[in-house]
Amino acid sequence: MSRRDDLKTLLYDCISEHGLETNTEIHVEDETPLMGSGSPLNSIGLVIVVTNFESQINETFGAQVILASEQAMSLKRSPFRSVEALSEYADQLLPAESS
């Protein structure tokens, strides 16, 4: 599995964790938007999932990545447009793989 796949798995875990916390079933796929209409998450849900995802990444990869930033918000193509896109964005923020 590539690092991007690992990241995607982490993100899926964070989303399902949020489902458990809110006692709701959240169904997402790779192309499901995380923001706006069509997203199963409200704004607080998004922030909780992204914050959790961020801390999981930093713990797993020993990094100091910040996902929710002015920079992320101002990108032409929002990294929050889908599960796939956020995983990809996280992968880009992490230092290049050495192995």
Partner: protein, 447 residues
């Protein structure tokens, strides 16, 4: 001479306990002799009426005597609690102190000179009117301490009305308006001040047990620490009749636990500020956080959800900040209140309120829900800037026993989502390093 009425009351009960300091009793007769000795010290120092002097002390009988003597000699007194870490030089400069008096461990007075002279109009005004003054520094948990100048006669007038004679613990500090209030209330009613060498649960409980304290004026944060300590069963606290809590919003869940642990004790919330003094207050019920405040010297009104107070005992003004009063003498307390007829419920200081995506979150309300979660010993809710929501809610928690923080966060959020609207749920849950309580036993919500 100012305060003669107070000394007359002392003279009427010379054998009664006045102050208990390091477990030794000083009677009112002895306190009167110490006040005479303090007058002699001030004469020997050649202190002139209207001088600003710092009194670096605690509630020892010698310090109380010097405070009373200084006010009788119409000095402008700046109390500073001896164990509080503060830059004395800086405070002396702001309050234009010509000297600092300190009570040594053996109880003798020591003096240090400062080069400052009265320049500020408020201080000169008091001196020219031959009025004793009291200058209280705000605790400065946010920003620089502000010096509130009081005309002592206005501040002390309400204590002339006789009330209950009680044995009170001086938990609130010597330089705090609440500590001053405890001291004046106790002495004016021929009660006994039970002083503390430290303010941890064991020391406080031991003092209550040993000296049969009836009243404990304290803060919600200390009461939470007391519940957490697990030490309550070790002491006989049956003498306690009243627990007065002030200065912060009390979490409802803590109040109900306290009621269960202290049956028969009256819980009373009080409300006061360095700028106006302590208002008389009444709680709606023992387990209620709704209170009625006021008294003959105070008027209240609510403007845009914020409590405003107009008081006869209002300070003259700040020495180092613009006046917080409007032209009619009203003070905006910045405290948000809910109103139900004559009853108020304090929601929090406006500066502590967290704006999450345009919605208001009151830290105390979230903390109260956090206390319901298993394994949570203490919780402090703060804000953190966030690019999406403006701010997010962050919870700092202390645990009763070790647990994986991921589990803790998950359990906390699960409980919060079932009890609170989503925007009030903590986004981040962090382990508290134990440094979130100020030396005045208030929660630190800002760094």
């Amino acid at each position: 001479m100012p305060l003669q009425w107070l000394l007359d009351r002392f003279q009427a009960c010379p054998r009664d306990d006045a102050v208990i300091w390091r477990d030794a009793v000083t009677t009112y007769g002895e306190l009167l002799r110490q006040i005479d000795a303090a007058h002699e010290f001030l004469s020997a120092q050649q202190v002139a009426a209207g001088e600003s002097v710092m009194l670096d002390a605690d509630f020892s009988p010698t310090a109380v005597a010097l405070l009373i003597a200084s006010l009788q000699q119409r000095l402008l007194v700046v109390p500073v609690a001896s164990h509080v870490v503060a830059d004395r030089q800086d405070l002396a400069r702001i309050a234009e102190c010509s000297r600092r008096f300190h009570v040594s461990d053996s109880g003798s007075y020591e003096a240090e000179h400062y080069p400052h002279r009265l320049g500020h109009q408020f201080l000169r005004k008091l001196r020219d009117a031959a009025s004793p003054g009291l200058i209280l520094f705000s605790s400065g948990s946010t920003g620089r301490p502000k010096a509130a100048v009081h005309d002592f006669d206005c501040l002390v007038a309400k204590f002339k009305t006789p009330r209950h004679k009680q044995r009170l613990v001086t938990f609130l500090l010597f330089d705090h308006i609440g500590g001053f209030n405890t001291m004046m209330y106790g002495l004016a009613n021929q009660g006994c001040l039970i002083t503390l060498e430290a303010r941890d649960p064991d020391t406080v409980c031991r003092a209550i047990e040993q000296h049969r304290a009836e009243v404990l004026p304290t803060s919600p944060t200390f009461l939470t620490l007391l519940l957490m300590s697990g030490r309550l069963d070790q002491y006989d606290l049956s003498s306690l009749k009243v627990i007065n809590y002030s200065t912060e919003v009390m979490p409802e869940s803590t109040l109900s636990q306290l009621n269960a642990r202290f049956p028969g004790v009256t819980f009373r919330q009080s409300y006061g500020l360095s700028e106006v003094g302590i208002l008389r207050s009444q709680s709606r019920a023992n387990d209620s956080v709704w209170i009625r405040v006021g008294g003959e010297d105070y008027q209240t009104r609510v403007v845009a959800g914020l409590l405003h107070i107009k008081a006869r005992s209002s300070m003259v003004g700040y020495l180092n900040a613009p006046s917080p009063f409007d032209q009619d003498g009203w003070l905006n307390t910045q405290d948000e209140v809910e109103v139900d007829g004559q009853w108020f419920r304090f929601r929090g200081r406006q500066s502590d309120i967290i704006n999450v995506g345009g919605e208001k979150v009151y830290p105390a309300e979230v903390e109260s829900v956090l206390f319901e979660v298993e394994n949570i010993a203490d919780a402090t809710v703060m804000k953190e800037p966030h690019p999406i929501l403006g701010n997010i809610v962050v919870a700092l928690v202390r645990l009763q026993h070790e647990e994986d923080m991921k589990n803790v966060a998950s359990r906390i959020r699960k409980h919060c989502f079932s009890k609170l609207p989503a925007y009030k749920v903590p986004v981040k849950v962090l382990l508290d390093d134990g440094q979130r309580v100020t030396e005045r036993f208030k929660k630190k919500r800002q760094d």
